[in-house]
């Protein structure tokens, strides 16, 4: 790390959990704590009976859930179970045949699929992020690493070249890419570096909600650990809400607060991550969990 020290990075936002955690005394003897505020806290995203089918049991049907700020929701299940279709519908890419996806913007609830194209694109570029399994799908391969990171900031109106470059340098540092590579095209990066660049490109605008489709899917195991560690820390530091699609239950255990298990287009079981993995109730989840080789 030559050009820039990691110590100069700006302080990151604290995890947005203030409401949930307010008023818990440090000293056990202290009393009169207030009402637990998770009751009052507002959700960020709501799916209501979201359905999109390409054929019988292909796609997703009747999916409903609520996601809160700072929460990481894992979608697990075999390939073909409809995880990616659901992700596309949730992230505004695929209009569902039935049901609604609502996103809270301040005090207003937006129906994601009823928004105009321009508004939805703005949302996707500012408050939302999307990390693709294949970084080449999420990066602009023809421009430099620095330009990839700066793009979202420019879409938000940033024009000052020095500041854009500084933000790019900071983020390269945060995702453990040598800042000296800022002018290189992503095509010259390894797969793991490309994935880290894609993460930086998405998180630079401090989104509130990030969709991830198998973010470590195409990578070597040794590279995976680094990406997972990075994601785990960034998600906490930035207080991101995440919808994470993965078929890898170890990845789910590491990153997700709670899980939804998909099978043949339906959610068959949902709950706290470790509870689903350690005490699965549905026959399919039991099959899924018992099929993993324990290392």
């Amino acid at each position: 790390m030559s050009a820039l020290s990691c110590d100069t990075l700006p302080e990151s936002r604290a995890r947005q959990r203030a409401d949930v955690d307010k008023g818990f005394p440090e000293n056990l003897a202290e009393t009169a704590p207030p009402r637990p505020a998770w009751a009052a806290e507002s959700p960020l995203l709501q799916a209501e009976h979201v359905t999109h089918l390409f054929g019988p049991e292909q796609g997703c049907q009747d999916v409903s859930f609520t996601l809160y700020p700072g929460e990481v929701l894992g979608l697990v299940g075999e390939s073909g179970s409809g995880k990616s279709t659901l992700l596309a519908a949730l992230s505004g890419r695929l209009p569902p045949e039935a049901g609604h996806v609502r996103y809270r913007d301040g005090k207003d609830w937006l129906d994601v699929h009823a928004l105009g194209e321009a508004r939805r694109r703005t949302l996707l570029r500012t408050e939302w992020g999307f990390v693709e399994q294949n970084p080449r799908d999420g990066l602009r391969m023809s421009v430099s690493a620095g330009a990839n990171i700066g793009e979202r900031l420019m879409a938000q109106g940033a024009r000052h070249y020095g500041k854009l470059r500084q933000a790019a340098l900071d983020w390269l540092c945060r995702v453990e890419i040598d800042p000296d590579r800022i002018d290189d095209a992503p095509g010259r990066f390894s797969g793991g570096m490309q994935q880290r660049l894609q993460i930086a490109r998405n998180l630079v605008s401090c989104p509130r909600l990030v969709f991830m489709d198998e973010p470590t899917g195409g990578l070597d195991v040794s590279v995976q650990a680094r990406i997972l560690d990075l994601l785990r820390n960034l998600v906490r530091e930035l207080g991101l809400a995440v919808v994470l699609v993965t078929h890898d239950l170890a990845v789910a255990r590491l990153l997700a607060d709670r899980l939804m298990v998909m099978r043949r287009s339906r959610i068959v079981e949902a709950g706290l991550t470790d509870q689903i993995l350690d005490d699965p109730q549905h026959p399919y989840t039991q099959l899924l969990v018992s099929s993993i080789l324990k290392v």
Partner: protein
């Protein structure tokens, strides 16, 4: 003094769909109240359901029926049927758990593993680090190991990392599953001191100890699970 935890009619049945729907009834009709400053020791032979009860109290296993009410931020929260985010909030503030085995994550150092609960609680990084270092030193983990990932540590070292993690923040309810199992006499002493200090500070502790001397040293009272319908050993799902 008011109870911190009220358990009534808790039962646990495992339905093993992969084994022709075999039903294993592990616990039935468990009930007790737990008060601040006491240590309730679960007794019963291996496989009596002690760890299963612990896991239910931590929200890791689902109770098949019954009620677990816990005082959380001044209100009673029913854990059976609670939302995941409510359980997670409980785990940040109200219930600590020292599991039998450390789940090591690649690249995460011993110090970070220990600091995590304190950071989630909202401690400043410096405070969390100071507390973590103090505990690691007290548990005789050599300083050269603090900045390494504990995946390659010995069983006893991993267990001490896990214990430091469990004791870094004060908990209204603390669950400890065999915390002294693979420790030498010196470190066993440290762990028993940590438990005594937590009791004195007002934590209510539920513990499993196979070691009789440890059990007698910390127990305020016992809950016998001997006749609580135990038919299987340990981790029921994976064992089946």
């Amino acid at each position: 003094m008011d109870a911190i935890l009220k358990v009534s009619g808790i039962g646990k049945r495992f339905v093993l769909h992969r084994a022709q729907g075999t039903v294993l009834t592990v616990l039935e009709g468990i009930g007790f109240a737990l008060f601040p400053g006491e240590c309730l020791v679960l007794s019963g032979h291996s496989g009596a359901g002690k760890s299963t009860l612990m896991r239910i109290l931590y929200g890791n296993y689902l109770a098949s029926h019954g009620s677990i009410r816990i005082r959380h931020g001044g209100e009673w929260l029913e854990m059976v049927g609670a939302e995941p985010r409510q359980i997670l909030a409980l785990r940040r503030h109200t219930i600590g758990y020292v599991s039998q085995f450390l789940r090591a994550i690649p690249r995460v150092t011993a110090l970070d593993v220990v600091m995590e609960p304190a950071l989630l609680r909202g401690y400043a990084r410096k405070t969390a680090q100071w507390k973590a270092e103090t505990l690691l030193a007290r548990l005789n983990i050599p300083e050269r190991l603090w900045h390494l990932a504990p995946g390659t540590f010995s069983g006893g070292e991993q267990q001490r990392i896990n214990i430091a993690r469990g004791f870094i923040a004060p908990w209204p309810v603390l669950l400890v599953d065999e915390p002294t199992a693979s420790l030498d006499e010196t470190n066993r002493r440290v762990v028993l001191d940590l438990i005594a200090e937590a009791k004195a500070a007002g934590s209510a502790i539920i513990g499993i100890f196979h070691d009789r001397a440890a059990r007698e040293a910390v127990a305020s009272r016992f809950l016998d699970l001997e006749n609580a319908c135990a038919h299987i050993e340990g981790d029921a799902f994976h064992a089946a």
